[in-house]
């Protein structure tokens, strides 16, 4: 295959879009990259997944550094949840040896459908709770108090500081563990579940959840990438323009995210989770019952 400026430019452009939306939503962008590489460039799935994993690190570094600089990322919370997500990723790799893939796909599809529905019905909740001070007046749980997980950030769209008290650490840690399992088992980043867990169960405003997840997904993707690298599955000439594109897209995305209202982010998020749930359901039905539904590129 000739390595032409046109080939590099199209790969770069697709990656810019993935990096941009990944930064807006606190996810890796692999859900955009893998279908693009497979469908547009007819690349083998393994090469596409490896390139996507490395690009998740690129977008996490670019987005994460910006959100850390703006103090949108809650470092303590992110590092607390990383314990569960990395253990989840490790146990997901072990579970993959024993569990049937279609069962896990169905379970994650159901979880994503539920999260999508709750993100949509609570889409106005963030702005209302910020306005009423609800995020800052909740009672912390024991873990949150002991580890001082609560935080604050400056919301540019509302032009005001937002304080929040973290609670629900148990369920948040459990969902983060599941996000890690999904990552180890299914090769997805798990950012969607991490953002949902923080926002839905831990009293963390959407933007702080996005910023914290953005930093966290880099570690999960790094572990997977090391294994792909050692197995010789990373194709450097594909990875290079993809990583450059996601870095550029994520850099722009981080500048835009804090200027948007949370309701906009949650609408996009709900659609994204619905799309992911559908993709998993399609794969599960094909694997178990040989029912072929349109894949919508996922």
């Amino acid at each position: 295959m000739p390595y032409t400026p046109h080939f590099v430019a199209v790969l770069f452009a697709a990656a810019v879009l993935a990096g941009f939306f990944g930064a807006l939503l606190g996810v890796g962008g692999g859900i955009f990259i893998v279908p693009a590489l497979v469908l547009m460039f007819q690349l083998p799935v393994k090469i596409a997944v490896a390139a996507s994993l490395v690009s998740v690190i690129a977008t996490s570094n670019a987005g994460g550094s910006s959100y850390v600089e703006q103090h949108i990322t809650n470092l303590r919370l992110g590092m607390f949840l990383e314990v569960f997500t990395t253990i989840g990723a490790l146990s997901g790799s072990v579970l993959a040896l024993y569990l049937r893939e279609w069962v896990m796909l169905m379970l994650f599809a159901a979880l994503l459908l539920y999260m999508s529905w709750t993100a949509y019905i609570t889409r106005h909740r963030d702005d209302q709770r910020i306005a009423s001070g609800g995020y800052g007046s909740a009672a912390p749980d024991a873990w949150s108090r002991r580890l001082e997980l609560s935080g604050r950030y400056h919301d540019q769209a509302l032009d005001r500081p937002v304080e929040y008290v973290v609670n629900g650490s148990g369920i948040g840690a459990s969902v983060s563990y599941l996000a890690g399992v999904a990552s180890g088992l299914l090769g997805v980043g798990g950012g969607v579940l991490k953002v949902s867990a923080m926002n839905r169960y831990m009293n963390v405003p959407m933007k702080a959840a996005v910023g914290t997840s953005k930093m966290m997904i880099g570690v999960t993707a790094a572990v997977g990438s090391i294994l792909f690298y050692l197995a010789g599955l990373i194709h450097f000439y594909i990875v290079a323009p993809v990583a450059l594109g996601t870095t550029a897209g994520a850099t722009v995305g981080t500048l835009v995210m804090n200027r948007l209202r949370s309701v906009v982010l949650k609408r996009i998020f709900a659609v994204l989770m619905l799309y992911l749930a559908y993709g998993m359901l399609v794969k599960a039905l094909a694997l178990r019952f040989h029912i072929l539904l349109p894949s919508l590129g996922s």
Binding site: I57, S60, V83, S137, L147, V165, G218, A222, H235, L244
Partner: protein, 130 residues
């Protein structure tokens, strides 16, 4: 700004030096890998290469260093990929060190566990778990 109720904890963030070292680790990892990737792509385009989608060639460290000295595109992209992959791990390591310097025992332990799990996963991966 809402006033936290009496049972609310003080809302304070991780120490500024932890934010600073984490930001620096992520930023320099991103800048370094971006420069190397960009150089690699430009060199590859200037040489009108054809690429194969077969298994990636294995390059040892000596070959990579020699390639870097000659601005070989493959060597540049390998170095960029390694730097990129190690950046989040380095971020956890510097946070571990920063929390230790601050004598924050709880978060030194938390980041230490994360580092240990990463190392364990890589070891198990090398043993063929994945």
């Amino acid at each position: 700004m809402p006033t936290p109720p009496p049972n609310s904890p003080r809302l304070h963030e991780a120490p500024a030096n932890v934010y600073k070292v984490v930001y620096s680790a992520l930023l320099w990892g991103m800048v370094g890998s971006t420069v190397l990737f960009a150089l690699g792509v430009l060199r590859a385009l200037s040489q009108h290469l054809s690429i194969s989608l077969g298994p990636a060639p294995h390059w040892g460290w000596t070959q990579t260093w020699t390639g870097l000295a000659h601005l070989d595109p493959t060597a540049l992209m390998i170095a960029a990929t390694v730097l990129l992959i190690l950046t989040p791990v380095a971020r956890v390591a510097v946070a571990f060190a920063a929390f230790a310097v601050d004598r924050d025992a709880k978060f030194t332990l938390v980041t230490g566990i994360v580092l240990a799990v990463i190392v364990l996963t890589v070891i198990l991966g090398r043993l063929g778990l994945h």
